[in-house]
């Protein structure tokens, strides 16, 4: 029975993440399902870009997190310095970091070709997202890794003559740490999703047509079609609600992943 629930849970998560999978199906932008072609194309493009942002952010932030967590245990001075820097970064609201990293680049985006602008836009946003997710991610990895290291290092692995670096590598590959890394990845994904959509929303609301068109996101699409909901202007209300429903599905999938890990942690 427990196994069946686990399988159902995994299936539910996959279904809820389907907007990302669908966005990459060839010709997906041409199936309009009764919506204006331009709108449908924007929706598919926004989920495609969001999936790229999430994938790259989790890769970059994950790699930096592991390296920082690893180094901070090997060298305590590095650990203290890193903690102080990340503490300072964490004390600034994430949306401010994104705004100040991204919005000013609008000038550079406008003066480059569309493809260069898109790459530049994604790079700047991934940098901002990585910066804001790092403090919690590094803390989440360094603390349990440090506990494992100081508990097991002296009792068993040291007697085999392992170097400190090798012991850390072994511990990092343990089941406990793999669970921690999975949970860290889910947190990074969720925070980046919220940041990306909130940021696009602000750009759309605050800057409108003068915003940064290279950054496409469901959050911006929701903001662009808000008047369909609030004032009875031309257009289907589905244009507002569709990205909302898809975003709720995706967020809920990440929350489920986090919840599952928390339950496992409780049982351990």
């Amino acid at each position: 029975m427990k196994k069946l629930f686990e399988i159902l849970g995994i299936a539910a998560v996959v279904v809820m993440l389907s907007p990302f999978l669908f966005a990459w199906v060839p010709g997906a932008g041409e199936w309009t399902v009764g919506l204006p072609t331009a709108y449908w194309h924007s929706l598919v493009t926004s989920f495609r870009q969001l999936s790229i942002t999430l994938a790259f952010t989790v890769l970059v932030a994950g790699a930096v997190t592991v390296v920082l967590g690893y180094c901070s245990i090997l060298w305590p001075v590095v650990g203290k310095t890193t903690a102080a820097v990340l503490d300072a970064v964490e004390s600034i609201p994430a949306i401010l970091v994104a705004l100040f990293c991204y919005a000013p680049v609008a000038v550079a985006l406008a003066s480059n070709s569309a493809s260069t602008s898109t790459i530049l836009s994604l790079s700047v946003f991934i940098f901002a997202a990585t910066l804001t997710t790092l403090p919690e991610a590094v803390r989440g990895v360094a603390l349990p890794l440090g506990e494992l290291y100081h508990r097991k290092y002296s009792v068993s692995l040291r007697s085999y003559g392992f170097t400190r670096g090798r012991i850390l590598a072994v511990l990092l590959n343990s089941k406990d740490m793999r669970d921690v890394l999975r949970r860290t990845a889910a947190v990074i994904l969720l925070k980046t999703l919220v940041l990306d959509c909130s940021f696009s929303f602000i750009i759309q609301v605050g800057m409108g047509a003068n915003g940064t068109p290279a950054h496409t996101s469901p959050g911006g699409l929701i903001a662009a079609w808000r008047m369909v909901l609030l004032r009875d202007i031309d257009g289907s209300r589905l244009m507002f609600w569709l990205p909302v429903i898809l975003l709720v599905m995706v967020s809920f999938a990440f929350l489920l992943l986090l919840g599952q890990d928390k339950q496992k942690e409780q049982h351990a």
């Binding site: 609201p93 994430a94 909302v244």
Partner: protein, 294 residues
């Protein structure tokens, strides 16, 4: 001595220094991004100094908000909104954690199953609610209350639909549940006190659990202050409040560095002040835990 150390670290370093350095760093990043000339850097630095020293000539030539108005709007709108949001966050976490922990306690003592089902359903609903994007909540509020909703409603939406209330309740619940099977709790329960189903009041089992969990919960709350300030800033942009959020965005669009400096500085100062208040609670209530949290 311990008090002086607390003031130097929390008020001096994490308050004043972080706010000043953060303002300079963010505005510097902005100037670098727009390819500002050396003259503009110098002029901006001069404006920053003028603002910090409360020079009455600061931003006199700027159309729109003056620095004084920006500071007033921070004091009058952003700061109270952030405090009320923080209060909602704590109340939601306390009620959620107390309900969940008392259900678990009753289940382990009396073997009831109903509480388990209700708890799971409540958790699922809360997580589903927190998956709704924050700004969608603002638009629904806009649709139902018009352009001028009550600040209390805005604060509630920031906490509930920002996912902060759910996360805080989950954090505190896990901590309190972990302690239910410990010896101290079992000994305490033999005295037969009230359970404390809704609120973890002193003298109840959940009150006792909270007393042990609070030293970890308070630093957690302090860590959530920037997220609250971020949510409040978005609310100010959506509802076009004369607060810091919309001023900041206007300054970015119009490349008005004086207003930008003042808005960022006041936002970071409000952030630092609210965090300082939370950290002060930890220092006063649990000084040993504050030292550990360093």
């Amino acid at each position: 001595m311990r008090f002086l150390r607390f003031l130097a670290l929390e008020l001096g370093l994490r308050g004043v220094v972080f706010t000043l350095v953060g303002t300079l760093a963010l505005v510097g990043l902005y100037l670098a991004s727009v390819g500002a000339s050396a003259d503009l850097y110098l002029k901006t630095l001069g404006a920053f100094w003028s603002m910090v020293t409360l020079n009455p000539d600061f931003s006199l030539q700027t159309a729109g908000f003056s620095a004084g108005e920006i500071i007033s709007s921070g004091a009058a709108i952003t700061f109270p909104l952030a405090l009320v949001s923080l209060l909602f966050l704590v109340v939601i976490a306390l009620v959620g954690a107390s309900t969940a922990a008392s259900s678990t306690y009753l289940r382990t003592v009396q073997g009831g199953r109903r509480a388990l089902g209700l708890g799971a359903l409540g958790g699922l609903l809360a997580s589903l609610l927190s998956a709704v994007p924050l700004f969608v909540g603002f638009w629904l509020l806009y649709g139902s209350s018009g352009m001028n909703p009550s600040p209390m409603l805005i604060a509630l939406v920031v906490v509930v639909l920002g996912g902060l209330g759910w996360d805080a309740a989950r954090f505190l619940t896990l901590d309190m549940k972990r302690q239910i099977d410990t010896t101290h709790t079992l000994v305490f329960s033999t005295l037969g006190p009230a359970v404390g189903r809704v609120l973890p009041l002193p003298g109840t089992v959940t009150g006792y659990l909270l007393n042990s969990a609070a030293p970890r919960f308070i630093p957690y709350v302090a860590g959530k202050v920037p997220a609250i300030i971020g949510g409040v800033t978005i609310a100010e942009m959506v509802f076009n409040f004369p607060g810091l959020g919309s001023t900041l965005l206007d300054a970015l669009v119009n490349m008005n560095t004086d207003t930008l400096i003042a808005a960022v500085f006041v936002l970071l100062a409000v952030n630092a002040l609210v965090t300082f208040l939370v950290k002060s609670a930890l220092f006063v209530l649990y000084p040993r835990w504050y030292e550990k949290a360093l």
